[in-house]
């Protein structure tokens, strides 16, 4: 992971994890799918990240492993921001 993630990132991610207890911290290696991030929620999360950070992800991003953990997703977001 490049740097500590921004609080806005964590806020957006948490919003899409209905099975995650509000008091449980989001760690970089948290298994997103185990906390309610199904394929539909992935798309909503993606759209919210695009809105929140003013970026556009490529269409094939859903097939990537980036959605498995917050750490991978933050790395991907930074790659897209840098592009």
């Amino acid at each position: 992971m490049a740097t500590e993630w921004l609080p806005e990132f964590e806020t957006v991610v948490r919003r899409h994890l209905p099975l995650l207890d509000a008091n449980t911290p989001i760690t970089p290696d948290l298994a997103l799918a185990d906390h309610g991030l199904n394929s539909l929620a992935m798309i909503r999360l993606l759209v919210d990240l695009e809105d929140g950070f003013g970026v556009e992800f490529p269409d094939d991003v859903l097939a990537a492993t980036a959605f498995r953990t917050p750490g991978a997703l933050w790395t991907l977001l930074n790659q897209v921001l840098a592009a």
Binding site: L19, A33, D34, S39, L40, I43, L46, V47, D59, A63
Partner: protein, 390 residues
């Protein structure tokens, strides 16, 4: 290899028998026992079982063709067969070799009709989440769950059952297990008196029992992969084919009536209104037939190359097939009811079973609710900026 024509021919031979029982099956909301017996004897219960296990070795095109043909006789029977076939496909693709060795020859011989237990009370047709969990760790696995809808559950010889992998795992961690009927204790919990597809006997059940570890189909917690690669694609193809077959049979009956000396006065073949209405019905069925074939081609090509079916465009295409087939086939029969009028189109006592087709096909948009698929398809469409059409 068992030829496509041969499997469809076997199905065609069964149509008169299915048709002979269709009215009674519908009237009594009774399971089509005679029709299923004939299907068991025909070899078609093993259409998708590979030849090395004694089956017909058919593929997705065969499922579509046989489902369409069977629905000419009885839509309920065709749907029972379609659902059995989607279970068989999942077992062929994902079962442990020991389970496949024990089970598939019995399926091919017509001894095992498999029902599915994939929804739970309050799940709203969502099959990728489960509440009731397996217990028992690495040895024998115990299950105890409620199932609001088990098509043919009272008559099935085997069951494919989804369970949460364990009490500790998340609701998304769903494990598929196979159980023989004699491994289970089954209690029918609800009555069955629906509008249509009455012969499917999709009763509520409580299912308890124990299975061996090799009866897990796919990976532990890996039902999503089974669903995306096998159960959902085959279901959408097979159901759409059944609905198409029922609507095709309805149109065929109406065309024959219009061409006969016995036609009612309103069905004048020289009437522009009659021909325009016939054209609309025909066009809708052509569209479903063409799209069904395209999806079959795509599924078969993906499978031949060992590619998964979970890419965005393919998911959209599979959902489109189901939603479009449900809407267009029901709409077609609705138009035929209107065209034929009160006596021929609407009455239960009509020579033509249009009102039965109408009731049967009304279920199509509810059997996995179209709204759920539209929500997913719309979201997936956002992920396909170039719009990759089939």
């Amino acid at each position: 290899m068992y030829s496509k024509a041969a499997a469809a021919d076997v199905a065609r031979e069964l149509v008169p028998l299915l048709r002979a029982h269709a009215r009674e099956v519908d009237a009594k909301a009774a399971f089509p026992v005679e029709a299923l017996r004939a299907l068991r004897d025909s070899g078609l219960m093993g259409l998708l079982v590979p030849r090395e296990h004694g089956g017909m070795g058919g593929g997705v095109h065969d499922v579509a063709e046989v489902g369409r043909v069977l629905a000419h006789g009885c839509a309920s029977t065709a749907m029972i067969w379609a659902m059995h076939s989607q279970q068989v496909d999942s077992i062929v693709a994902f079962a442990d070799a020991r389970l496949a060795e024990r089970l598939l020859p019995r399926v091919a011989a017509g001894e095992v009709f498999i029902a599915s237990v994939t929804t739970e009370p309050g799940s709203g047709g969502q099959i990728l989440r489960a509440s009731a969990s397996l217990t028992g760790g690495t040895g024998t696995l115990a299950l105890d769950r409620k199932a609001p809808i088990v098509t043919g559950g009272e008559h099935a010889d085997g069951f494919l059952i989804t369970m949460r992998d364990s009490a500790e795992s998340s609701a998304d961690s769903v494990t598929l297990v196979y159980a023989d009927r004699d491994q289970l204790s089954l209690e029918v919990t609800g009555d069955w008196d629906p509008m249509g597809m009455r012969g499917t006997r999709s009763v509520g059940m409580r299912v308890t029992g124990e299975v061996e570890p090799d009866q897990v189909v796919g990976e532990r917690g890996g039902f999503r992969r089974v669903a995306l690669a096998s159960m959902v694609p085959v279901a959408h193809v097979a159901w759409s084919a059944c609905w198409l077959g029922a609507a095709q049979s309805a149109l065929s009956d109406v065309v024959r009536l219009i061409r006969s000396a016995a036609k009612p006065g309103g069905l004048d073949p020289h009437s522009d209104l009659v021909t325009e209405r016939l054209a609309r019905v025909r066009i809708d069925l052509e569209l479903v037939s063409g799209y069904l074939r395209q999806v079959c081609d795509k599924v078969a090509a993906h499978r031949a190359q060992g590619r998964p079916l979970d890419d965005t465009a393919t998911q959209i295409h599979l959902n489109t097939l189901k939603v479009a087939a449900a809407e267009l086939t029901f709409g077609a029969v609705d138009r035929l009811v209107q065209l034929c009028g009160m006596a021929t189109g609407y009455l239960k006592t009509s020579e033509l079973p249009l009102e039965r087709h109408f009731r049967d096909l009304r279920s199509a948009s509810l059997n996995i609710a179209n709204e759920r698929l539209l929500k997913v398809t719309g979201a997936l469409s956002l992920m396909d900026r170039p719009v990759t059409l089939i």
